[in-house]
Amino acid sequence: MAKQQEAARLLEQEAVAHQTYRMKLHSPTIAGEARAGQFLMLQVRDGNDPLLRRPFSFHRIQREEGAVEILYRVVGRGTWLMSQMDPGSTISLIGPLGNGFDLSNSGAGPVFLAAGGVGIAPLKELVDRLLSDPSRSAGEEVHLFYGARTAAELLDASLLAAPALRIHWSTDDGTMGFRGTVTQVIEQVVRDEGVRPTRLYACGPLAMQHRLGLWALREGIDTQLSLESLMACGFGACLGCALPAANPDHPTSDHYLHVCKDGPIFSAGSIQWDRIRQQQIAPPIFRCI
C-alpha cells in the first residue's frame, strides 16, 4: 500500500459545528487506498508560511467518487487559513498514512465508540465500516458515545444517524444530552444496561483517552485509541511525533512510539500515560490578542 503525494481539488467546504469544518477533497489515488483510522498530511498553502503540513484523519472515504473528507477544528493559523479556502482550490495531500483501525473480530459483540469534540472525525468512517461489515451479527449494536464542552461543538444528529447505531450524547454544560463526560456515560451504560463491549474505539482529548484507556484496561476490554501529536513529515522520517511507550520489562526506561508509523491507532496498554501527562502534549489553543 503505497503512500502518495497528490494534488487534490477542494470539492466542498462546510461549517458543521462551532469552529468546525468539513472538507471534501477529490483525491482518487489516496481515496482508493485509504482505510478508516489512517490519516493524511495537508499542505495549507504554497510557500513557507505555515511551513509544515497538518495531519488529519479520514472522516469519510468515498472510493467510488474518488473523494475523501476531513473534519477539522480551527485551533491555529493553519486551520484558520484552511477554513478560508474556496471550492475549486488545489491542495497538496500526502496519504494514506499510519496503521488504521483494526476491524477484525469487531462483529462478535457490542462495540463502543467514544468521541470527544472533533475526535468524532475518524469515527464516522469507522461507523460506516462497522455497520456495513457482513460478518456483523444481526442485533449487535454499535454504541457511539459522543460528547463535547457544549452543544454548539457537536455535529448535527442527522450527519451521524444510521440504523443499528445508538448515539449517547453528552456535554460538559448539559446543553445536549447527559451533563458530564463521555467516560461517565459509558460507565453508566455498562452499569445500568449490563452491556459489555468487545472493543472500545476512541478519539478525543488526551485526558479523555487516558481515562477511558485506564477504565478499559481495568475491565479487560480491547482498545483502539486514535492519538495525535505534532509532526513534521507523517511518514517516519522526522521522529518528531514520539509518545512514551509502556515497557513492562523496563518500566522506567525511555522508549518511544511514533504516532505516524506505529499509530495513530494504539492500544491503551502500549502507552506510558503518566509520562505523557507530565509533559502535557496539548494542542495549541487558538487565541487572538
Binding site: 503505497a2 503512500k3 502518495q4 503525494q5 499542505q43 513557507n48 508560511d49 505555515p50 511551513l51 509544515l52 503540513r53 500526502i94 501529536s229 505534532l230 509532526m231 513534521a232 513529515c233 511518514f235 517516519g236 522520517a237 522526522c238 521522529l239 518528531g240 511525533c241 514520539a242 509518545l243 512514551p244 526506561s253 525511555d254 522508549h255 518511544y256 509520562r275 505523557i276 509533559q279 502535557q280 502534549i281 496539548a282 495549541p284 489553543i285 487565541r287
Partner: protein, 331 residues
C-alpha cells in the same frame, strides 16, 4: 536531429567531484531528514539523489528526547529529537544493505558522547561495503553530552576529527555548527586534523515558549532551528568557511528549491544537502536536481562545475545592470 550535435543540445553535466567522491549530481539529502532512505521510496526513485546522508548513528541505540520534540516557527521549525537512532549494529544489519543494493552513495553521519566513541564508530564502519564517506556530527545542539560541545571549540574539534581520521581511510566530512563566533576557526581545525570536506550548517540553537501555558514549547527547552528561516545564516557561514579552507564544502540550511541550492553553489559550495524541505515535499530532491539542470541549460552552462564558485565579488554599487530575469525553476 542530425549528426551535428552541438554542445547546446546535450544535457548539462551535473556531476561533481568532492575530494575523493564523485557524485552524479550535487544534491544530497541531510542527516536526520531522510531516515535511512526507505521512508521515501514511495515518493521518488532515491537513486536520482546525488548521495544520501543517513540519520546520525551512535554505537548503541538511542531513544531520543521526551516529547514535545518539534515546534513550528515562522518559515522554520525547531527540533530536539535527541539523536534517536537504531544504533550501529541494526544499521549495518538492516539498513545499510538495502542502500548498498540500490547503489546509492551513502554517507554515514556518526555521533558519540566521547572522542573514543567517535573513533570506535569510524573503526567499525571502515571498509564496510556501501559506505561512501563518514560525516562527523560535532554540531547537534539537542543533546546534553558531546554533540555541539565538540563543534564549538577548535581544540576539541581537532581531537575528534583526528581520532576518527586515525581509524578510517573513508573520506571524512565534518559537519559544522553555526553556533560559534568564528566558524572559520573550527573549519580550519577540522581540516588540519584530516577532514577531507566540510558540511555547513547544522541547526541554529533556538527556543520557543508559550505565553498561555507559560511553558517552553519543547520538553528539551532548547532545540535546533531549521528551514527557510536559516538560509541567509547558512549562506553567510558557507561563505566564511570557503574563505577559511580550500577543501570541498557542502552547503546546508533552508534549501527547498533549485534556486536555493544554486545560491550555495554560486558561493563555491561543491554540493548541497536538502533538510527540512524533505518533510513537507518528499520528492523535493528530484525537483531540485531537475531545476538545476534547467537553469544550466537556459543560462548556457555546459556543466555545474562552470557555475560553482562563479560569484562576482567585483561588483560596483549601485549595480550597473540590475537583472530582473527570473526563471521558474521550481514549477
Amino acid at each position: 536531429m542530425g549528426q551535428n550535435t552541438t554542445a547546446a543540445d546535450r544535457s548539462p553535466d551535473l556531476s561533481v567531484h568532492l575530494g575523493p567522491l564523485r557524485l552524479k549530481n550535487p544534491v544530497m539529502v541531510a542527516s536526520g531528514t531522510f531516515g535511512y532512505g526507505q521512508e521515501y521510496e514511495d515518493f521518488l526513485d532515491i537513486r536520482e539523489i546525488g548521495a544520501i546522508v543517513v540519520k546520525g548513528i551512535s554505537l548503541a541505540p538511542r531513544s531520543g528526547n521526551p516529547p514535545p520534540r518539534i515546534v513550528e516557527t515562522p518559515a522554520g521549525m525547531i527540533n530536539a529529537i535527541g539523536l534517536e537512532n537504531v544504533g550501529l549494529e541494526v544499521f549495518l544489519d538492516a539498513k545499510l544493505p538495502h542502500l548498498r543494493d540500490l547503489g546509492i552513495p551513502t554517507i554515514v553521519n556518526i555521533f558519540g558522547n566521547t572522542v573514543e566513541e567517535y573513533a570506535e564508530l569510524a573503526r567499525r564502519l571502515d571498509g564496510q561495503p556501501g559506505v561512501a564517506a563518514l560525516e562527523i556530527n560535532i554540531s547537534c545542539p539537542n543533546v546534553k553530552q558531546g554533540g555541539m560541545v565538540f563543534g564549538t571549540d577548535p581544540t576539541l574539534a581537532c581531537e575528534v576529527v583526528g581520532a576518527v581520521r586515525h581509524r578510517t581511510s573513508l573520506p571524512l566530512i565534518t559537519k559544522l555548527t553555526p553556533n560559534v563566533t568564528r566558524i572559520g576557526e573550527v573549519a580550519r581545525a577540522a581540516v588540519d586534523a584530516g577532514s577531507d570536506m566540510l558540511s555547513c550548517i547544522n541547526t541554529v540553537a533556538a527556543l520557543a515558549v508559550d505565553i498561555y501555558s507559560r511553558r517552553p514549547k519543547l520538553a528539551n527547552v532548547i532545540g535546533g532551528l531549521s528551514g527557510p528561516a536559516i538560509k541567509p545564516i547558512a549562506l553567510r557561514c558557507t561563505y566564511e568557511v570557503l574563505q577559511a579552507v580550500r577543501c570541498p564544502v557542502i552547503g546546508i540550511g533552508g534549501i527547498a528549491s533549485a534556486t536555493d541550492a544554486l545560491e550555495f553553489l554560486l558561493l563555491g559550495a561543491r554540493a548541497v544537502q536538502i533538510g527540512t524541505a524533505n518533510f513537507t515535499d518528499p520528492a523535493v530532491a528530484r525537483r531540485v536536481v531537475e531545476g538545476i539542470e534547467r537553469f544550466l541549460e537556459v543560462e548556457g552552462f555546459q556543466s555545474i562545475e562552470e557555475f560553482i564558485g562563479a560569484l562576482d565579488l567585483e561588483c560596483t554599487f549601485p549595480f550597473a545592470e540590475a537583472s530582473c530575469q527570473s526563471l521558474d525553476l521550481d514549477g
